[in-house]
């Protein structure tokens, strides 16, 4: 980072497909991480929401390679060159730990395995529990299964955050003037994922047990996002590039509305109680669903504002 940084770069024209990818990468990573946390530290009755999270992660992941490949335009058939260096005489795997795009592609591939296995496991468990009464059955795999989820969650957190680091590792104004984007996209992705799982509980009544906890988590993630957003603006102001964000004021405001909605919904749930837990919500009401939509729009608006501010 440099004070009063001067940039003479060309914009890479990362626009709608990349915006879409960043949005879904935040949701797939965030959903997997939340599902794992619900399973590992939550009540047995949180298992329904955990499975919902694993399904959400897998489905949102499926969109990612489609968007990335489409973005390549006429070279779309060479998408696999991200993984294999086809330089004549030097054919081999392509991996650069210092290039977030290179690391990210590999992480996405590996995460695909974790997301697919966890979604399949959830499907198998749902089939097993279909006729059972009471709490969902225990997940498959015991300690190894939990370790599998934990490793998957670590990669998931990377997927949700590296897109911000990728932008910073450039010479573009705004993007390269801050170190906050990785954290900001992660916090926003986690908040959006909590909102998305909340939204989807409407289709899975058993998962409604976790609604209050999801609200509470969403509130914490939104506070984190707000702090990082302030830090982001301080750093780009120091670099002298903050004015580039002004044309996108409506998007920034929408992002703030998402954060604010989440905090309003979390109000009353963000009490740390030694025992007893937060109140259980029977099911997601219209207001809850509306807040979830606003949070998701905020997640999308934040990424759009960041992407377009530099271009």
């Amino acid at each position: 980072m440099y004070l009063a940084a001067e940039h003479f770069v060309r914009a890479p024209q990362w626009t709608w497909y990349i915006l879409g990818y960043f949005f879904f990468a935040g949701l797939t990573g965030g959903s997997y991480a939340l599902a794992t946390l619900l399973r590992l530290v939550g009540e047995p009755r949180d298992e329904a929401a955990a499975r919902l999270g694993f399904y959400t992660s897998f489905v949102t992941l499926l969109v990612c390679p489609v968007l990335l490949t489409t973005d390549l335009g006429a070279s779309w058939s060479k998408f696999w060159h991200m993984l294999v260096d086809v330089t004549p005489g030097e054919v081999g795997l392509s991996f650069k730990y210092w290039s977030p795009m290179s690391v990210g592609v590999w992480a996405l591939l590996i995460f695909g395995f974790f997301a697919a296995v966890s979604a399949l496991e959830s499907f198998a468990l749902d089939r097993r529990d279909r006729d059972a009464i009471g709490d969902p059955g225990r997940p498959i795999g015991g300690v190894l299964g939990r370790a599998f989820n934990a490793v998957g969650a670590i990669i998931a957190l990377f997927i949700a955050s590296y897109t911000g680091v990728l932008l910073s590792v450039s010479n573009q104004p705004v993007w390269s003037d801050t170190w906050m984007l990785g954290g900001l996209f992660l916090a926003s992705g986690l908040a959006g994922s909590a909102a998305l799982i909340t939204l989807l509980t409407a289709f899975r009544p058993a998962a409604a047990f976790s609604l209050a906890r999801l609200h509470e988590a969403d509130g914490y993630f939104s506070i984190l996002e707000l702090v990082l957003l302030v830090a982001f603006f301080i750093t780009i102001a120091a670099a002298g590039t903050a004015t580039r964000t002004l044309p996108y004021l409506p998007l920034w405001l929408l992002a703030l509305v998402g954060i604010g909605s989440s905090l309003v919904a979390a109000r009353g749930h963000m009490r740390i109680r030694p025992a007893g837990g937060t109140a259980v919500i029977a099911r997601a009401g219209a207001d809850t669903l509306a807040v979830s939509v606003l949070v998701l729009l905020g997640v999308l608006a934040l990424r759009a504002a960041v992407i377009f501010s530099a271009q």
Partner: protein, 268 residues
């Protein structure tokens, strides 16, 4: 000046902007040799420049910097336009090469930076990284394009087309060490004439480890749209900070999740 071109040696350009006359012969020669069809002609209302910028169709671009008074204060005391034939700098520490995830961008046996068209997949990471706005995507091929320093001509023992065509020898091609010597001599000559604003850009390693295509400028680098040494950072400078920011957020996020989801004993 005939140059014997030997693989394994470093070659480059020394562009002396003090003698550039803005004829654009370099642009034409580059397009002719590299079979670049050029963009649709447009009137840019920007001095004598209708090329506009370096891009996939323009691998040389003569910049006209004419923000000078229309008339001199005193006769014979006017300020000349600044003209500069811009090109890929073939940086020693190339930002484009650093971030390229496919390995398409390589350093050749002539120490130049080259994009392998059959390897590049058009991800545009190099476009975001290049601090000189050199690289652009050719929409028809879907790949990144820039000056090759006439790699094919070098392989055939020929100097690059632009240097060959330059009528004033503003663009000089040769072994890097010889060019650096010539630049030092030229700079000393200008300074001895009282032209103290003349300076070399990319001659030493302060900018991206040194540039194989370096310049003699008649004003500060920013005037020509070139980042000064303080602003010449590689993209990887943000790797560590970016990942630490993400890691701290991840830890806080997991703690927040544990606080929100933890077992609380009996629930209502």
């Amino acid at each position: 000046m005939a140059v014997t071109i030997t693989p394994g040696e470093s070659y480059g350009f020394f562009t002396d902007t003090s003698i550039c006359i803005g004829c654009k012969a370099c642009e034409v020669a580059c397009k002719e040799w590299n079979q670049l069809q050029g963009n649709e002609p447009k009137f840019l209302a920007d001095s004598y420049d209708n090329t506009g910028q370096l891009d996939a169709q323009n691998w040389r671009h003569v910049k006209f910097i004419d923000d000078v008074p229309a008339q001199s204060a005193n006769a014979g005391n006017g300020t000349a336009f600044l003209m500069m034939s811009d090109v890929c700098k073939h940086c020693k520490h190339a930002s484009c090469m650093e971030v390229c995830p496919t390995g398409a961008i390589i350093r050749t046996e002539f120490d130049t930076v080259f994009i392998q068209q059959d390897v590049c997949n058009g991800c545009r990471n190099c476009v975001a990284a290049c601090p000189y706005s050199v690289i652009a995507i050719n929409q028809s091929t879907g790949t990144a394009h820039k000056c090759t320093l006439c790699y094919d001509r070098l392989q055939g023992g020929l100097e690059p087309a632009c240097a060959k065509a330059c009528p004033t020898q503003s663009i000089q091609f040769g072994p890097l060490a010889e060019l650096q010597q010539a630049a030092d001599v030229r700079l000393a000559a200008l300074h001895s004439q009282g032209i103290n604003q003349a300076q070399l850009y990319g001659r030493d390693d302060k900018v991206y480890g040194g540039l194989n295509a370096f310049f003699l400028l008649m004003d500060k680098p920013e005037t020509y749209g070139l980042p000064n040494a303080d602003n010449a950072g590689l993209p990887s400078r943000n790797d560590l900070g970016g990942y630490i920011g993400a890691l701290v957020t991840a830890v806080l996020g997991v703690i927040a999740g544990i606080v929100a989801f933890r077992r609380r004993g009996a629930t209502p």
